[in-house]
Structure formats: structure tokens, C-alpha cells
């Protein structure tokens, strides 16, 4: 029996366009659509990754909303945005809005993730491998 066959692809020079970019006037620059949809549409949202770690800096003030209070209680120890979204049963985008409010009010601190570099950081990879080996 022969398996079905695939053909490999190569990195695009530009970010790949969205699946259906045929909107008038914007078809020439489709990657912008992607950027707008995926990042801060309103320009006011903090750049929060799924794995940005959030830590509370203060107890909930009396003025805090129940949602803000819930986040601050959960973040007594560091917790990722993804975990907050899961525990509070809020969509990721709603979670980032909520956290942005707390960041603006200086009630939480955000610890940015380590992202992929063009040349991988070998000491980082070794640390991860060590950690995995202990599993």
C-alpha cells in the first residue's frame, strides 16, 4: 500500500496572506488584515501572549470589579494568561482586556515570555531538555 503524497513548501518572504484576501482595495496588502485582526485593534491593548505570566502587585482595592478581584486572587502566585482564561472561563481576548486594565492600574505585573529567535539560545534549549528529562 502506498501512502498519499505531499509537496513541501518554503518560507514566504512576506507573511502569508489570509485564506480569502479578495476584498476590494486591500487585496494588494493582505498581510495588514492579518496584523489588524490578530493584534491590538484598538491600539490600547497590551501585547499579551498566551504565556505571559501575570502576578498581582496588590490586594484588590475596594473599587475593583468582581472580575478584577478574581484575577488578583488567582495571580497571588504567577499564572499565565492562558491559565487565567481557562480558570475564569473567559475568552482569551476578553482576558487580555481585563489584564490590560489591571496593568494600567498597576495592580498586576506582566512577565513577558521568551520567544523563538532566529538563532536558538542553546543554554535555553539545554535548560528545557534538563527539565523534560526529569519528567
Amino acid at each position: 500500500m502506498t501512502p498519499p503524497r505531499r509537496q513541501r513548501r518554503y518560507p514566504a518572504q512576506e507573511p502569508p496572506p489570509p485564506a480569502k484576501p479578495e476584498r476590494q482595495g486591500e487585496a494588494k496588502n493582505p498581510e495588514r488584515l492579518y496584523v489588524v485582526a490578530g493584534a491590538d485593534e484598538d491600539g490600547a491593548r497590551a501585547a499579551l501572549d498566551l504565556v505571559t505570566l501575570i502576578v498581582a502587585r496588590a490586594d484588590p482595592p475596594p473599587s475593583a470589579t468582581p472580575e478584577q478581584t478574581a484575577v488578583l486572587r488567582l495571580c497571588a502566585a504567577p499564572l499565565s494568561v492562558a491559565e487565567l482564561s481557562a480558570y475564569l472561563n473567559l475568552p482569551f481576548s476578553a482576558m487580555t482586556v481585563l489584564i490590560t486594565e489591571l496593568l494600567t492600574a498597576e495592580l498586576v505585573q506582566a512577565r513577558a515570555p521568551i520567544v523563538r529567535q532566529a538563532v536558538p539560545d542553546r543554554s535555553l534549549l539545554e535548560a528545557v531538555m534538563h527539565g523534560l528529562q526529569r519528567l
Partner: protein, 206 residues
Amino acid sequence: MDFNGSDTLPGPRTEDHLPHTAQAAVKIVIVGGFGVGKTTMVGSVSEIRPLTTEETMTQAGIGVDDNYGSESKTATTVAMDFGRISITDQLVLYLFGTPGQERFWFLWNGLFEGALGAVVLVDTRRLEVSFDVMGRLEERGVPFVVAINSFPDAPRYPVSELRKALDLSEEIPMIECDVRRRASSRDVLMTLMRSLPSLALARSRA
């Protein structure tokens, strides 16, 4: 949902709290078709019970889905399971199992852009389901390894034949695994970590 009942506030168990020294996180994405074992793999290595983050595709779907201008916008909920592994007191690794369809990926900021790499989980009974995913990762320059989840009733092809069928460049590792087993899933992740330098090198030469 009721956020007021603080006694019943959902949250991590005490033993699942990260230490205050946790400074940064890294992530790996596990991608593959429906039912290929992504969530099983996440669960077999995660130190916490796998969690789910959801996103609703409404406004953000405009221009991507073809529902632009339609009166009744349909909201699609997309879920992603994830788990966590503490690496050191400072460093945490998160694993995300994500649907193969690229149109969902943009819902989560930087899901692939920031990831150290990806595992493409493949079921040899439905090999072609993974073709598009691999192509998308190649186009985006996301380093990945291919893991064949060995289902008992799946056709077994020789590795060389599978490599040819998947048209994998030589530096991309392909390994068989049983994602139900922690050691096996861990080996897949170790293989990814080990091959990241050579995958990056091959990409810089491309």
C-alpha cells in the same frame, strides 16, 4: 458566571502554584487533525490537569471567514487545550494543542510566532490531514518535527516511505510515538529541542 463567591473561585490547586521566582515562560505547539491525540499528548506530560482556553470568532473573523457583510454573524467557538511543565524555578514550559486549520491560529496572539517549535502529530490512517499544516509551518518558518502516533489499527509504512510521502527535508526528524505514554511524549519533545539548532541552520541557508 459568578465571580463573587470567592470561596468557590476556580483556580489551581495549591500544589499547582508556580513559585514566585517564575520569571518567564516558553511554549511549544502540538498541531494535528481532529482526534490525532493532541490533547492526550498534552495530558501525558503536563504537571497540571490539562486546561482549555477558548476564543470566539466573531468580529475578528471578518476578512478571514467569508461572512463579511452578512447580517447574522455566526460566532464560532474555538477551543485549545494546554498543559504545563515547570523547567526550573525561573522557567516554565507550556504545551498547546491546536486545531490544524490555520484560520484559527490568529485568534491567539503569537501562538506560532513566539513558539520555540511545533510538533506535527500524524495518524497514518489519515496522513493527508496533516499535509496542509506542514505546508503552513514551512511557509511561516516555524521549526517542527513530525511525530507518528502509532494507533494499533493504523497502516504501518516504512519510515523511508513516510518521509518520501510527506516530502520532509532531511533535517526534519520523524519519530514514532505512543502519546498515551509520558516517556514517549517526552521523547518527542526532546527530539524537537535537540533539532532546533539544525532546523534553524537549515532555514538560514534556504
